[in-house]
Symmetry: C2
Subunit: 351 residues, 2 copies
DNA sequence: TCAGAGAATGTAAACGTTTACATCGGCGAA
DNA sequence: TTCGCCGATGTAAACGTTTACATTCTCTGA
């Protein structure tokens, strides 16, 4: 099958130790010997056996990525960022998705043991204590958008609360006093944070307790579509809606369109995530932009840094800012879609 | 760090061979011995070192996944399907994305050597010969939506051509005689197949050579947005447009909306992919549905089957059907979006 | 010329498994 | 009783690396 280091050594007329030294760039070797070894390795298409190597070095040069049961733009963007950073550092990615429950996640975790040097975990529907109980102690771990408990693990997440508050304040600034909210899944961390941001902003705006303006959703377009009817039924009728993500906001837009309710004339709409199509909606959707890819890349970079620091590393927490993007659906005047083509230069969506 | 098989053996008062036999379910062991060993392993949280194991067995129980530089729904759905099938068979996924050019892909390929038992490759912008030159011979490989050359490798892809033809015929059936086409990237396999389907259907419909009705796009919403103006400038003006994917179709819808061109009244629009939001557009977008997740899952299943068959396996090619979904943008009457919620029960998009 | 330093290279012992083979009982048949 | 068989278990040799240590070679300075 594949050539071993021994065969390379024989072909180059040296010992295996020398081959190893040349290929790893360690220890002193004569220029000419190095050339001979490299030539032999090339000729035999030699690739070191990672298993044998990790047996000795206790390093696998791979990072495990645990993802929850989520789809769409978020998922792929996160992996993209993580992959970019990992590749730059010469690391490989062991990906495992679709962890609905604890048992599945635990199984996936076990399977990763010995295969990876560290872990990136994104699990927005698992609470902190449960998480830390299942995570291997002493392993470099980076938590992404998780409910974090204390300072046990490194973590990084998006300023969901701040972003949500910014959207609500934006709507309030346009004169809206009754702002409804379509929430995400009750057990989802991001959704909970966004809800908090909404409540905080409503309260600080003097809106009083606005629990009756909260409509349950589940992040799908359809739940947004359904929520539209509920909101319109409220008395007095809200003049604005903030949906916890863009998918639901799009559902809202669709429903309003069908019902003949004008946006933003009759009701203003805001979303969260700023997914690429947001600006192509009718009217263009106001949203809160977050760079998921950047989140993933940053997570990987920090994890690798922690790996290098070893035991000297101290876990810390980081929050990435979210940026308000005002478009017409909230009542702002906005330029034509392609003019603000933030994504255009880097997106290349396959069919 | 982690317990070794030797420690488990000592704890259970048996030899390492017995521990191995118990944990792998091979060879005869007494019921009571098995219990003792399993208890010890559990207590010590023993997990076999995969590297050491693969050194002997020459199996890694991992599959490499090579993905091109693509984003969005397609990417994540493909991984989701692949992951589901792999997990069911107890395999792990080594994912590597963003392979713009050959060199990158080759590097990624080398890094996978010895780490994986097989490979799933999706590389729509690489031609067949280039591909087979870089792929390791004798390795189980499954090609996904690639330009396939001969029967050297297993492959599986979507009926792009048939789906495109179906859409064009659908539009023709509604009375349209001048049907424009917004193409995908010139070097993209899917895009090329869809273009072929378009041309074939136009020709067979008696439309004659319609090259002047083809507008270049690149699968982004923005390119669709730009294409709208070009199409409207054609004389005589086309009465329908088929975009090579939904993103571009959405760009078209957006542009038409702004220009006051009614869809489907003034011009009919059709897309490809049936992405989840398609039905929530205004008007709901007619498209061609393909199950990317199913494609991925099927690929993985076939790869694992090939792995089991070993040398007895003969490569074969498979094509997955594409289904026309007629909605209002093409002039069909359609039910309200949520009524046809094919995705609703399984989608749970995270922020 | 030679001692000795230090560079270049070789030798062999790990690393943690699996597995072919050896060993050891116990049991039924001769 | 003894032989042979078979089920249960132990022993040790791989697998392909890295690396501590040993060895050899090549200078330099006295």
């Amino acid at each position: 099958m594949s050539a071993t280091i021994r065969e390379v050594a024989r072909a180059a007329g040296v010992s295996v130790a020398t081959v190893s030294r040349v290929l790893n760039g360690k220890g002193p070797v004569r220029e000419v010997t190095g050339r001979r070894v490299r030539a032999a390795a090339e000729r035999l298409r030699y690739v070191p056996h990672v298993g044998a190597r990790s047996l000795i070095t206790r390093r696998t040069h791979a990072i495990g990525v645990l993802l929850p049961d989520l789809f769409g733009e978020f998922f792929s963007e996160a992996i993209r960022g993580i992959d970019r950073a990992a590749r730059a550092a010469g690391y490989q990615l062991l990906v495992s998705g679709s962890h609905g429950d604890r048992a599945q996640a635990q199984t996936a975790l076990r399977a990763m043991r010995g295969r990876v040097d560290g872990l990136v975990v994104m699990s927005p529907s698992v609470d902190g204590p449960t998480l830390s109980a299942n995570l291997p102690e002493g392993w470099p771990v980076m938590l992404l958008n998780c409910a974090v408990d204390g300072a046990a693990f490194d973590s990084i997440n998006i300023d969901n609360e701040g972003g949500a508050a910014a959207m609500v304040k934006h709507l309030a600034g346009l004169g809206h006093r009754r702002i409804a909210h379509v929430t995400g899944p009750a057990d989802n961390w991001d959704a909970k944070e966004r809800l908090r941001g909404y409540r905080r902003a409503v309260l600080s705006g003097g809106g009083g307790d606005a629990r009756e303006l909260e409509v349950p959703g589940d992040f799908t377009e359809e739940s947004g579509y359904r929520a539209a009817r509920l909101v319109l039924g409220m008395r007095p009728r809200p003049t604005a809606i903030f949906a916890a993500n863009d998918s639901m906001a799009i559902g809202l837009l669709c429903a309003f369109q069908e019902m003949g309710v004008r946006v933003p004339g009759d009701i203003a709409v805001g979303g969260f995530d700023d997914i690429p199509i947001a600006r192509f909606m009718t009217p263009p959707l106001s949203s809160v932009a977050v760079s998921i890819a950047a989140l993933g890349a940053r997570a990987m970079e920090r994890l690798l840094a922690a790996l290098r620091d070893g035991s000297r590393h101290v876990p810390c927490h980081e929050t990435l800012p979210a940026r308000l993007v005002a478009r017409r659906s909230s009542g702002s005047r906005s330029s034509k879609p392609p003019a603000s083509s933030r994504h255009a230069h880097k997106r290349r969506k396959d069919p």
